[in-house]
Symmetry: C2
Subunit: 272 residues, 2 copies
């Protein structure tokens, strides 16, 4: 089977009647005629139960009844064989928001983590919002001063869950003024693609096919650093302002996609 | 004589012992061995007198004693012959912060405005901070939601004072999360160079020589839209998210400059 799509959401997704992004997730999780069966992982949150109830209601509102909580709030439960077997029964997994370090520190390297990666390689749809979006990449933004001039120190990184190794993801992007910390992250190694997701906005990433597509209300900011000509990222002291020249930036709303191999965005209208 | 340099400051410039940017202004205004004589225009502020006192003190602290208030708070005084003659005696003019529409609506098209433009063409140094920075360009950002996804509606434009016709300038840039409104402004006509100035950071613009140079503490964000491949700026409804592909972005700290003809940034170290 092919690697399953990732649906990466910038937080604050609509959970009402419209629910475009949640509907897209359910659509993906029920492709091939199967009935969607969705697990909600609330590990990032300290109020996991309330979060699960909210998502279960939102999914039921759009016609999905097979929703289960995958409650993993300790490393011991992440090693549990039973929860991995439950994961195997899902067609889609949804990671809620909170603190991305809770996800990685509780799940990272566990049986649950390995099962998730394996199942995704075989077609499992994995969605995540806010902290659940950040954890998708291998190098993960943990925190960083927003609304600051970019410095080396602007961003604190850690190891994410590695569902998408070629990108670094930030969320609540325009709303919290996070361009500086995304630029700092990309400057450290311009090979990585910087992705800034606004609230109620998502990308559907298909790594096997090599493209992404934008869904939702606002915009996705892509920071492509491969053409960077000059940077002081390695020389400058921590709090010195960063220098970066030749960054390529795209702002993509719904209806746009991007070829991940050439890094060229396109309007979906052009390709349909 | 050659067109005088513009010193455009993102607001919040240091007025203490260091005062790098104010010192640079005084240095420019005293070039050629003349003693600097500086006029402070507080038109943008509703507290002009207090602002003048603060700047007069700051300039005196760094050794400049010939500081005068150029108080223009009505259109009638902007038409006054006497104030224009006083302007002619200055080697530098400094525009303080406040509301850029106060500057343009009180000074725009007046004798004072025409005298300022003529004197700048003959060498007068013109500095401006915050609102005094915004007013430098011909198309001027008046307001716009910060920390919003860019839409056509994100930014409200007006006509600035036209000291630098090829740019659109935003200030308090990283601090207030204003990348979205600068991108919106550039998308409307990618010929214009977008310049986002952080606080306590300035550019010295030399239009005759065709370059700019960065001073101060943080960074200047340059948005070059000439290579934009796709945008929906003309089609999208006001509140729809903007699409923009192929923007080139530079983040420049002190020690960097940019060739305004080729739009290529460079490290000053490379050229010295």
């Amino acid at each position: 089977m092919a690697k399953g799509p990732l649906l990466i959401i910038g937080g604050g997704e609509d959970k009402g009647e419209d629910s475009e992004i949640l509907r897209r997730f359910v659509h993906l999780a029920s492709s091939g005629g199967r009935e969607a069966r969705v697990g909600v992982v609330t590990t990032a949150s300290s109020q996991g139960e309330a979060m699960f109830v909210a998502y279960a209601r939102a999914f039921q509102r759009i016609g999905l009844n097979r929703v289960e909580a995958l409650s993993v709030h300790h490393r011991s439960s992440a090693q549990d064989e039973a929860i991995c077997r439950r994961l195997e029964g899902m067609s889609g997994v949804f990671f809620g928001g909170g603190d991305q370090l809770r996800i990685t520190s509780m799940l990272g390297g566990s049986r649950f983590h390995q099962t998730l990666l394996n199942l995704n390689l075989e077609g499992l749809v994995v969605a995540g919002t806010s902290a659940g979006a950040s954890m998708m990449s291998l190098v993960m933004i943990v925190e960083g001063d927003a609304r600051q001039s970019p410095t080396k120190n602007t961003v604190k990184m850690a190891t994410g869950m590695g569902l998408w190794t070629g990108a670094v993801i930030d969320q609540h992007f325009s709303q919290r003024g996070r361009i500086g910390r995304l630029l700092s992250a990309v400057a450290q190694n311009p090979d990585i693609l910087g992705v800034g997701l606004d609230e109620n906005t998502a990308i559907e990433v298909r790594l096997q096919e090599g493209h992404l597509q934008v869904w939702g209300q606002a915009t996705v900011t892509i920071v492509d650093g491969r053409q960077i000509e000059e940077t002081n990222a390695s020389e400058s002291e921590d709090n010195q302002p960063l220098a970066l020249t030749g960054v390529i930036l795209h702002v993509l709303p719904r209806g746009f996609g991007m070829d991940l191999n050439t890094r060229r965005p396109y309007s979906m209208g052009d390709t349909l």
